[in-house]
């Protein structure tokens, strides 16, 4: 199907591409060719568009929250209030929607669905994921879940916090049932993606790519997929039970019906703690790739990084009670969960040290993906270390439900997981769309995001340790200066993301064409054209050590790298 000269064209891509269909984007045309595609690359791209769109939506609500908190008392929420909802209730709706959209529509699907779907099969030298139709099904489930959320937005929003704690959620919160149904459906999307990735990694590795010769992104994706399969169903049953509680008053989670609200928290966090590892493990996998490629050096301690991914996945199931230290969880349980929480930091720390050791003695290029990788290491260190303060029983009594917690989880969820995701987007962008983005604008955007993030959230550690509670619409005047600083930071970040949207779109329509291997990497996805052909490879690439950069040479004629083993 591909003209024979395409094999040579992988390394000598001409500036003017021939007009014949030669990659996955123009392989077939028309709405249905996308809507009913089984091509993992197209599915990944559709996911990326959806996820980034939802990120913008969640971000808007974040800006509303931060703007409201600019000053004590009502700032802007009153403008959206109505006879049926006070400004406080409007504010409650904003932070709930922000949290729910970001957690369930952006970060959890984020890297696996958008980047994993695209990259994983090609990294394996395979033609597709194990179950392409299930993959498309996952995508549509995501869309339907998103529509449920959009529905609640038009119906007055949902409140009570993204955690939906009883008894409030069972008796008084608004619009809970459509939101819960949306999350339930999103859960299945996540489960099916997890199933697909586990089987793909088990079954579609090429001969010669043993488990310990896989790229580290695959280890991260595999560990994530295991969590998706084992943890998400518990969320599913929790949501069903909550719906039953709300409609039939079954008496399991709400005291007024005979239930136990702490039991709800056990059920909820049994999933939601492993969920945060669903968010972080793929991003860590990406960072392993970024640091290695952009330091042009083999990852230090490959086996440790691989094992630590599995360790984090397993340990992540044993610590959910650390969200419940102040919820009348028994002292014995508190102690057990606190101790295990400390131990889960060890594999994460191992990764950080390995990344640093990878950079040491490497040939570091401060490309945009590398900047994101470095930002990840910095922000994750802060996020992870502050987690230890929260895992310590005595300090958590003081910090629980304050802005200290808010700052901690934004450092790990946004500063780490999302930064890792955007690092991946910037790393694989030339592969996915076949074009480069404007490097200068990208660096400006990165700087605004990085500085803005720290301004926004570091301040919140101070706010929290001085007692500012979370989810509060109003506050004492002594917190005002911190809130103002934090809000300014959030606008800096917003500016950074707007610039990012601009240059990414600009690259699609007019960016410099990218060669197959612009970064000098050696994992398999860089041995096919940018963008890849429909079947991923014109001819099957040789399987070699994906972290051996000795055979990778820069070719100025094409503005990229070539591999002596896979010309």
């Amino acid at each position: 199907m591909n003209p024979p000269e395409t094999a040579a064209a992988t390394s000598t891509q001409v500036a003017e591409a021939p007009a014949v269909p030669n990659h996955y984007l123009n392989h077939s045309k028309g709405f249905l060719s996308w809507a009913l595609t089984l091509d993992h690359k197209r599915i990944g791209l559709m996911y990326l568009v959806g996820v980034l769109g939802c990120f913008a939506l969640g971000g808007i609500f974040a800006l509303l929250v931060r703007t409201e908190l600019w000053a004590p008392g009502d700032t802007i929420a009153g403008m959206f209030a109505s006879p049926g909802s006070s400004p406080q209730e409007v504010y409650n709706m904003w932070f709930t929607v922000h949290g729910a959209v970001m957690v369930f529509l952006v970060i959890i699907p984020g890297v696996p669905a958008a980047l994993g779907n695209f990259v994983l099969p090609i990294m394996l030298g395979a033609k597709d994921v194990a179950f392409p139709r299930l993959n498309l099904g996952s995508f549509y489930l995501w869309v339907i879940g998103a529509l449920f959320f959009v529905y609640t937005l038009f119906n007055g929003g949902v409140d009570g916090g993204w955690t939906f704690y009883t008894p409030y959620s069972a008796s008084q919160a608004t619009n809970v049932i459509p939101a819960l149904l949306g999350v339930f459906i999103l859960g299945f999307s996540s489960i099916f993606t997890g199933m697909n990735f586990v089987v793909t990694i088990h079954k579609l590795r090429p001969p010669g790519m043993t488990w310990f010769r896989m790229p580290l992104f695959l280890w991260g994706s595999y560990a994530t997929a295991l969590i998706q399969v084992l943890a998400t169903p518990v969320l599913g049953i929790t949501l069903l039970l909550l719906i039953m509680e709300k409609t039939l008053h079954v008496g399991i989670f709400s005291p007024e019906y005979g239930g136990d609200p702490v039991l709800y928290q056990h059920f909820f966090w049994f999933y939601s703690h492993p969920a945060v590892y669903i968010m972080i493990l793929p991003a860590m996998g990406i960072v392993s790739e970024l640091i290695s490629v952009h330091s042009h050096k083999r990852p230090f301690g490959y086996q440790f990084i691989a094992y630590s991914s599995i360790a984090i996945a397993v340990f992540g199931f044993l610590v959910w009670g650390h969200h419940m230290f102040t919820s009348t969880q028994s002292p014995a349980m508190n102690a057990i969960f606190s101790a295990i929480t400390f131990s889960v930091s060890i594999p994460s720390a191992i990764k950080v040290f390995n990344w640093l050791a990878t950079m040491w003695g490497g040939s570091i290029r401060l490309t945009v993906p590398m900047l994101y990788g470095l930002a990840f290491i910095f922000l994750f260190s802060i996020g992870g270390l502050t987690g230890l303060y929260l895992g310590t029983l005595s300090t958590d009594i003081h910090f629980h439900d304050t802005y200290f917690v808010v700052a901690h989880f934004h450092y790990v969820m946004m500063g780490s997981a999302l930064i890792g995701m955007f690092g991946g987007v910037h790393h694989w962008w030339p592969k996915m769309v076949g074009r480069h983005y404007n490097g200068t604008l990208a660096r400006i955007s990165w700087a605004l995001i990085f500085v803005g993030f720290n301004v926004t959230f570091f301040t919140q550690f101070l706010l929290g340790s001085q007692g500012m509670p979370r989810r509060y619409y109003d506050y004492l005047p002594r917190y005002e200066i911190y809130h103002k600083i934090s809000t300014v930071g959030s606008y800096m970040m917003a500016a950074g993301f707007l610039i990012m949207a601009f240059y990414l779109l600009q690259s699609i329509f007019g960016g410099r064409k990218s060669p197959a291997n612009p970064w000098g990497a050696n994992t398999l996805e860089w041995h096919c054209t940018s963008p890849p052909p429909h079947d991923n490879f014109a001819t099957a690439p040789a399987i070699e050590d994906c972290y051996d950069y000795s055979g990778i040479d820069y070719d100025a004629k094409i503005g990229g790298y070539t591999s002596r083993a896979n010309p």
Partner: protein, 309 residues
């Protein structure tokens, strides 16, 4: 350039059911099974949440189960267990038939499995109807008024009718009330004459009115078929609706999965007519079978936990 056979591009005698990204039918088959086992793990954990609720409430409110499980008919439950076990056999035989390429036998076994599913749901309907008739429904649907009516209609039994068929559920109830169960014989004429608007004696705040004393008035059910699983109002725990919430949610979710399994079997019956299943391709039958066996597995646990103890 490449020493290896690339994935799936050696176009020699491909089986018509081999997808393009697989190297061989065996690889595709094993991947399908692996995928299905992962899905079954999610089902285990989905039901697991309900089992968790079951065990937590059993541990913390034992009187709920000691009192409530008399409403469940052991005989129907046991028959349903047998029905599902037989259906598991016929499903395994169906898989076997597809593996040896015997289409007629495959269809017959699938059909019998489907009928067993119908039988199971039929018995379930009978059981549910009995509950509805008594007003024993989950949560806020528990029909207290109807239970009092029943009491009036003469279901009340002789006070010294001792029930000894239900393990030790009688003597050990303490539960959250703390006090050991004390039998208090409430004259049943009083209960029978209670006005619908007045609280039946079983709901008084007295700590003695816990599960233990209901045995005095217990109604024998489940020792042979056809009984209506009546629970006396006297001695009823105030939170009895929780027992029925758990019962209906567990058996209801299980029933939904039986229906899904039956739909899968029906689909297999339709598509197997063209003879596509044989020794080299029977994956859908195999993984449909795995799903059906899981439905059976869950019932193997549900039955004793709800009906027998």
């Amino acid at each position: 350039m490449s020493e290896h056979e690339s994935h799936g591009d050696g176009h020699h005698a491909h089986h018509p059911h081999q997808a393009h990204h697989w190297d061989s039918m065996r690889q595709q088959f094993e991947a399908g099974k692996l995928g299905m086992w992962l899905f079954l793990a999610t089902e285990v954990l989905l039901f697991g949440g309900l089992f968790c609720a079951y065990f937590i409430y059993r541990a913390n409110y034992p009187e709920l189960y000691e009192y409530g499980h008399h409403a469940l008919d052991k005989v129907w439950g046991a028959i349903n267990t047998v029905v599902l076990l037989v259906s598991s056999l016929t499903m395994a035989l169906a898989v076997r038939a597809s593996q040896v390429g015997n289409r007629k036998q495959l269809q017959a076994m699938l059909a019998i499995t489907f009928l067993c599913g119908c039988g199971f749901m039929g018995i379930k309907a009978v059981e549910y109807k009995a509950k509805i008739d008594h007003g024993y429904l989950p949560g806020k649907l528990f029909n207290y008024a109807k239970t009092i009516e029943h009491e009036h209609e003469g279901h009340a039994h002789d006070g010294d009718h001792h029930d000894d068929h239900h393990g030790d559920g009688v003597a050990h109830a303490e539960g959250v009330f703390g006090a050991p169960a004390v039998s208090v014989v409430a004259p049943l004429e009083q209960t029978a004459q209670a006005q619908p608007a007045a609280p039946p004696s079983g709901l008084s705040a007295s700590a003695s009115r816990v599960a233990g004393d209901h045995a005095e008035h217990g109604h024998e059910d489940g020792d042979h078929g056809g009984h209506d699983g009546y629970l006396p109002v006297d001695g009823r725990p105030p939170n009895i609706h929780i027992f029925f919430s758990i019962y209906f949610m567990m058996t209801g979710l299980h029933g939904i999965h039986v229906l899904i399994g039956m739909a899968v079997i029906a689909w297999l019956l339709v598509v197997c007519r063209d003879g596509r299943f044989g020794p080299s391709y029977f994956t859908p039958v195999e993984i449909g079978g795995l799903y059906w066996h899981l439905v059976d597995l869950i019932w193997i646990f549900l039955f004793p936990l709800l009906y027998l103890i």
